[in-house]
């Protein structure tokens, strides 16, 4: 999987690339619109992370260029301007998702994998991790071909954790992913704990190994 990060803030790029590489994505970086243009015209990417405010141009112009050239690369717009017009304009221009700064890296990873999955839908609508199988179209989960019944929140939680395999997803990141803006009401993380507990229980009862590890004080990690 090849990802292009177009962003002029070097430290941010470093963190993003480092985190995404752990998911075995290949990350290329463009620090300016000019650099990005060169790369876009020559290579194909599975996902492009596009900052709108670039020192030498507007990211939306790059997006336009990309769509005019008939490229099918998935695009996630990243911006400090959490403005509605930008969001609407970006999505109208054919962006696949929109993420406003600041964001959690696990959230970024989840969005990237969602975009990539969507782009590959024709052949692959399944997400697998050992004995766990997720049908993304039917939104069903099976363990060793036995369906297990998950609530919407538990399903979302599983996808989120699967997108961040072998990495720690903090309680804050999980809370925001599950509840959006409503997460700010939660000063306790009891509800995440109960969702995790239920998901764990359903998976192990279904015959799966216990992949969800509690990382004490921080959050949770999905992996062997």
């Amino acid at each position: 999987m090849k990802i292009l990060i177009i962003e002029d803030e070097k430290e941010l790029v470093k963190s993003m690339a480092q985190y995404l590489r752990q998911e075995s994505y290949v990350c290329e970086i463009a620090y300016s619109a000019r650099e990005a243009k060169e790369k876009i015209t020559v290579f194909e990417y599975d996902c492009i992370l596009l900052d709108i405010n670039l020192p030498d141009g507007n990211g939306l112009q790059l997006l336009e260029m990309l769509k005019e050239a008939g490229k099918t690369d998935g695009v996630i717009i990243i911006t400090a301007k959490n403005s509605l017009e930008d969001r609407v304009q970006g999505l109208n221009l054919g962006a696949d998702d929109y993420l406003s700064k600041p964001f959690y890296l696990p959230e970024l990873s989840a969005r990237v994998s969602a975009v990539i999955r969507r782009k590959q839908f024709e052949g692959n609508t399944r997400l697998a991790f050992h004995e766990i199988n997720v049908d993304l179209l039917g939104r069903t989960v099976s363990v060793n071909n036995n369906f297990i019944d998950l609530t919407r929140k538990e399903y979302n939680l599983l996808i989120f954790l699967l997108s961040n395999k072998n990495r720690v997803a903090s309680k804050n990141a999980i809370a925001e992913h599950l509840s959006g803006d409503d997460a700010e009401l939660l000063d306790k993380f009891d509800f995440i704990y109960s969702h995790i507990k239920n998901l764990k229980k359903k998976l192990t009862e279904g015959g799966a190994n216990d992949y969800i590890k509690t990382v004490y004080g921080l959050g949770y990690k999905f992996g062997l």
């Binding site: 803030e9 430290e11 941010l12 963190s15 993003m16 480092q18 985190y19 752990q22 400090a80 301007k81 959490n82 403005s83 509605l84 017009e85 406003s100 700064k101 600041p102 964001f103 959690y104 890296l105 696990p106 929140k153 990495r167 720690v168 903090s170 309680k171 804050n172 990141a173 925001e176 509840s179 959006g180 803006d181 409503d182 700010e184 009401l185 939660l186 000063d187 306790k188 009891d190 509800f191 990382v215 004490y216 004080g217 921080l218 959050g219």
Partner: protein, 423 residues
């Protein structure tokens, strides 16, 4: 009291005093002039009379003639005197008129004369204008003057205040209607009166300057919030990376978690500040038909699981309500009201949302406020140091209501806080 009324009052008092004072003064001076005139006449008459008498050289029985004259003439009296020489002098006397049954004032000249060697006393009288009449006439004239003066002043005052003060009141009304965050500039009309033009110029430059400072400040807040987003994103990213380290001790993990929560709080503050300045800058102009009932239902469905963690049930009395507004803004408004009601609640309390006839009421159980309700809507006013609250939620609610022209009310009744928005 209006400025013109004040000056009018002073003018009126001054002219009234002047007119009243002028009555005795003019009476006295007219009297003097009249007396002088009459005295001159009397003198001329007396000298003519004496000249005449001197012309008569042959009259031996002048004495008899003079006596007859004295008897016949009404105005001239001549009587033999005892020879005691008296200086001729004028005086004013009053004579009773038996015909009209009243007193009349007369001016009289008494003079000792020698006729043919014999001393006589010559008295000539002349009728004067009646004093009472004079007073009456003068008073009448002055009263008319006062009436005309007052009427004139009032009339001039009214037309002046209408005409001359018009630009002043126009500027004043513009100033009254001026709102720093809404009105553009004050555009006064050009008058030809130096003071008003001066005033208008000063008002214009003052409001322009204030507005400029205000806009700069607003821009600053927006820019500052924007610029903070990227460093915050870097901070968040580094924290997320640090968490992946396999060698973290438990204490480090706890510190990291706290750092992340703090960073989260910072982002939220920043986002809310940005939102406030965006509402200020009227960046939510796209209006559409919004089904409020459906929107409330959707938001509450998402919120219920969160509220249930604190055992706070949310009741909703629905009714149909369609709004033509910015969907994004109304969503922010509702979310902030609901969050407020859930956050500031007691364990096992409740939240009641009621939609009725273009009015939304959000009520929550909570002990009464310690601060004033007005202060509650101000930025960063928090009653308890709740870490999770940014202190901006309700001020965003008020800002949205102000911008959209909704009426926002608050009251505390039956141990519940009620927030009422009338659309």
């Amino acid at each position: 009291m209006r400025l013109l009324q004040l000056s009018l009052r002073t003018l009126l008092v001054y002219s009234l005093i002047l007119v009243i004072l002028s009555i005795p003064v003019s009476l006295f001076s007219i009297r003097e002039i009249l007396n002088e005139e009459v005295d001159e006449n009397l003198e001329v008459q007396a000298s003519q009379f004496l000249d005449h008498i001197k012309g008569f050289t042959y009259l031996d029985d002048l004495e008899t003639d003079l006596e007859v004259l004295d008897q016949l003439s009404y105005n001239i009296h001549i009587k033999p005197s005892d020879g005691h020489h008296e200086q001729s002098h004028f005086e004013t006397i009053t004579v009773f008129d038996s015909l009209e049954q009243e007193n009349h004032p007369f001016r009289q000249l008494s003079s000792s004369v020698d006729i043919k060697g014999k001393p006589y006393m010559l008295t000539i009288q002349m009728s004067l204008v009646d004093n009472d009449q004079l007073v009456l006439v003068i008073s009448l004239v002055q009263t008319a003057l006062i009436v005309l003066l007052i009427a004139g002043l009032l009339f001039i005052n009214r037309s002046l205040s209408r005409k001359i003060w018009k630009p002043f009141y126009a500027t004043l009304n513009q100033l009254k209607a001026y709102e720093l965050d809404k009105s553009k500039t004050i555009e006064p009309e050009i008058t030809n009166i130096i003071e008003f033009d001066d005033l208008n110029k000063t008002v214009s430059s003052l409001t322009d300057r204030t507005r400029k400072v205000y806009l700069e400040q607003k821009e600053f807040i927006e820019n500052a919030s924007h610029e903070l987003q990227t460093p915050l994103a870097i901070f968040h990213g580094k924290l997320d990376l640090l968490m992946q380290s396999p060698t973290l001790s438990e204490a480090d993990a706890a510190t990291l978690s706290e750092l992340e929560s703090t960073a989260k709080r910072m982002s939220r503050l920043n986002k809310n500040l940005l939102l406030l300045s965006k509402i200020d800058n009227e960046q939510f102009i796209d209006k559409e038909e919004v089904d409020l009932d459906k929107l409330v239902l959707d938001l509450l469905t998402n919120l219920r699981p969160v509220a249930e963690l604190d055992h706070i049930p949310i009741a909703y009395n629905a009714s149909v309500c369609m709004l033509n507004c910015s969907r994004a803004l109304i969503e922010v408004l509702l979310t902030n009201l609901f969050h407020n009601a859930i956050r500031h609640n007691i364990p096992h309390g409740k939240v009641v949302v009621e939609l009725k006839e273009q009015t939304l009421q959000v009520s929550n159980t909570c002990p009464p406020l310690k601060m004033s309700p007005e202060k509650m809507f101000e930025r960063f006013s928090k009653e308890n140091g709740s870490i999770n609250s940014t202190g901006l939620g309700l001020s965003i609610v008020r800002k949205i209501c102000d911008t959209c022209g909704y009426e926002l009310n608050y009251n505390y009744k039956d141990a519940m806080h009620h927030f009422i928005v009338r659309f």
